[in-house]
Symmetry: C2
Subunit: 362 residues, 2 copies
Amino acid sequence: MAAAEPPVRYGILGCANIARKMWRAILLSGNSTVVAVGSRSLAKAEAFAKENGFPGSARAYGSYDAVIDDPDVDAVYIPLPTSLHRRWAALAAEKKKHVLLEKPVALNVAELDEILAACRVNGVQYMDATMWMHHPRTAAIAAALSDRCRFGQLKAVHIIYSHNCGPDFLKNDIRVKPDLDALGALGDAGWYCIRAILWAYDYNLPTTVVALPNTEFNEAGVILSCGASLQYPDNKMTTFYCSFLANLTMEVNFLGTDGYIRFNDFVIPFEEKVTHFYEHANTRFGELATSIEPLPTKHVVRSDLPQEVLMVKEFSNLVQKIDRGGEKSEKKWEIISRKTQLVMDAVKTSIDKGFVAVEVEE
Amino acid sequence: MAAAEPPVRYGILGCANIARKMWRAILLSGNSTVVAVGSRSLAKAEAFAKENGFPGSARAYGSYDAVIDDPDVDAVYIPLPTSLHRRWAALAAEKKKHVLLEKPVALNVAELDEILAACRVNGVQYMDATMWMHHPRTAAIAAALSDRCRFGQLKAVHIIYSHNCGPDFLKNDIRVKPDLDALGALGDAGWYCIRAILWAYDYNLPTTVVALPNTEFNEAGVILSCGASLQYPDNKMTTFYCSFLANLTMEVNFLGTDGYIRFNDFVIPFEEKVTHFYEHANTRFGELATSIEPLPTKHVVRSDLPQEVLMVKEFSNLVQKIDRGGEKSEKKWEIISRKTQLVMDAVKTSIDKGFVAVEVEE
């Protein structure tokens, strides 16, 4: 779209911490602006707008309804607790607002299907807010994974996303409350792990999923840490671990027949503008097996814009194509969101049933 | 022991490739020498001795018996196929030879117990040839893991040891022959993974083990790749993957409540004299969760002597204490060897029974 085109106007539902980051991203995107923020408390919405320096014309509302009813809002960003997603994402779609939905997108695939149906019927764009997918490093790694000579066939994947949330979080955060974010660490951290696995497998679904014993729960039964193994028909080994109880760690290990790719900050890069990944290719023993050759390669991928800004830019671009270009919505995002949810549901079912193998069905 | 003490005299059973590396290690150790090598073929033993420049006085024998009968041999290094370990390690011990045994040490714990009993009854030292344990980096990482402030409590471990062995190995190597090394990749590569896990847990045994689906076998039923999850009573998450079918990769991920330690060459360092490991400590989100702080620390650990030389040095030192100092043998090595074997047996049983949970019993 032409640069002179008017920006996509966002309304934000809720004043979660992550909304501060996204507010900045919207303003930095170049094709988007913030026009409204809503909270159940008007005072909270006003304080949030003021604190974050929203453009003077942005409105603070004392309800979510007011945001989605505002005719100046083109798109909503929804960082509400997961249990509220189905209602507010579907309502926003019905009001013809495009939906950028924070993850985990829903408590289960049935809820997500309601959201996706509402978006489809109303012709609005849907996207889950999985920021790392929009970083140019992700595209660079995709290219490295598809190198037949230096990586070969994918054989094994292991992903860790953990975050030692501390006693205050574990007592008070919405992400450990069964009525707000019943998926706990599986939803908040496991979402990223599952998405990374699906991404590496070109979004092919595993046939079965087995949660690993040693899941940890809080007193209300919300998952605080868990792991799982995903089975693909061609004997690839796939495992992940997610936790609210371990040091903030974001490890990706992709092992191929002829190479190995790893990076240590997949969800949020250590530094905004300069990122890395490491590639081992055609690794072999040196003379007498007293060394290993060649040394891994450190790849540097620079990005002028943070990944969340690139995400907003892409979402707004799709919105503009629909609202002003008359195009249809991009279906990729609902497809991969649904697959991520299906695997997450299967892991949850496996945990609930005592770590049995659960089939993943589309 | 005093430096002037005469060296421990080794006999080597078999002419495996690894014996070339160990021959060099024995000669570099400063307290050891090679006096004999035996093969089923005298010509092969003679060629091996000549090719490797054994000291002029070293004898080449056309049988293993001749090596263990040689009164000038104090200790034997046994790199034979695993199925021959029970017989030759026990016989060597009966002839009062100290036993440095290549891994995997036995096909199962019953066989290992015969070896260990023979060593104990005959008062000889036993050690498995797990070289990485003797590298000073291993001690440095142990110190980092025990740092309560920078690492905290161990929460999760993931280990990979894979080696893309290529078509010739997969067709001809002893490690894929059911009558020679029936444990396949589990024995050859999984041994290291299991040892690393036990090492990290202060040699506490898991209560149960579950092999993960997607084990790969060759036509003769020998394991070419597999993975497993080990359960500890305090909800630690422990997984490993070992393979003959993926790029040579040696990854260790140790995740703690307050830190994360990783290194990428745990079995054999990339470089003989300069090694690294990486430590993430008290990692947290930066402002607006747009970065991660602090950056990981790259630790450098130098070693003048290769790890296999340090292993020989330590083994010979223990031998000298027994043979010349009248001390008893060091029991640590048989204890941790047996625990490693117990876990390996449990993984094998889990695979054989269709990936069921198997209790680990001492």
